[in-house]
Symmetry: C2
Subunit: 172 residues, 2 copies
């Protein structure tokens, strides 16, 4: 659709331009990382909506709960999902309404809310998760097994670097 023959997409990376300082590679890396994850996320979001009339935040929440047989405390959900607790209050409320999760006040500590999958929620999640796996597989299918493993490894290093930096200067 654009003038550049053959290609009809553009994004932030299209012209990285030289960086003001010498963080050129860092910025290029960051933009590429962001582009990849935005592309995947947008597609997953679209498919969840179209195929299941579900949103990604809801799906993410169910995904966390699936591995917690006994349910999970709201605060831990917040950490694992890397979103604020305030966010979860309303999200959980909507999922309770739709019957996917239950919310119970802890019997031993009345401040604590325990969130758990219902049977319905578990079944719904399983179905969506299967398809989700296929979608991701499709998106990544042109990547060789070797590249996949290499990426997982390299991203592991990146993650450690980020965590280290956050832990060091995090207080500021």
């Amino acid at each position: 659709m654009t003038e550049q023959g053959g290609v009809d997409w553009i994004d932030s990376e299209t012209k990285v331009a030289e960086a003001p300082a010498d963080h050129g590679d860092d910025l290029r890396l960051w933009l590429r990382l962001l582009t990849c994850s935005t592309l995947v996320e947008t597609e997953v979001r679209r498919r969840l909506r179209e195929d299941f009339d579900f949103t990604l935040p809801r799906f993410d929440l169910l995904a966390q709960l699936e591995r917690a047989e006994q349910g999970m405390v709201l605060g831990e959900l917040s950490k694992r999902m890397m979103v604020s607790a305030g966010n979860l209050t309303a999200l959980v409320e909507r999922l309770v309404e739709s019957g996917h999760v239950s919310r119970t006040t802890s019997p031993t500590d009345r401040r604590v809310q325990i969130i758990a999958l219902t049977d319905f929620g578990r079944a719904a999640f399983r179905e969506m998760a299967d398809r989700h796996g296929d979608w991701i597989g499709d998106l990544f299918k042109d990547l060789s097994a070797r590249d996949r493993v290499a990426l997982i490894d390299e991203l592991g290093k990146l993650k450690r670097s980020i965590r280290a930096s956050l832990a060091a200067g995090g207080g500021s």
Copy 2:
């Protein structure tokens, strides 16, 4: 702060668990990608707010405009930023109010809105972009130059795979 000695963070990746199908590596890769980009994004967002009282979407918009001397049509901004046009209407409006960008109706096509940086906006962006480069550099500093280049390369392959998949099945 949690019970597990030494480490006080957890996230979605902490237990990847075996995948339902055999997309195990794909899902692991996707989760790791998402974790890295969420960590960086959250930190950038926090610093922009604290240091400049600015938001990431605003910053992203200015970043796109910086490379367009003549300004940019709203539709192209939308493609480059990978966000909906409806989103931009309000975002641009707020940036016009704060004096960072100007909005002009194209003289040759009255449907078209041309958005451009003001001098004030350009100066503000330059300052933020410099710092932004430092932040990213800090977050990535434990990564060797070799790893950085490898990641850029591998992510390039991933991006091509995603684009190809979207282009192929995209119509659905």
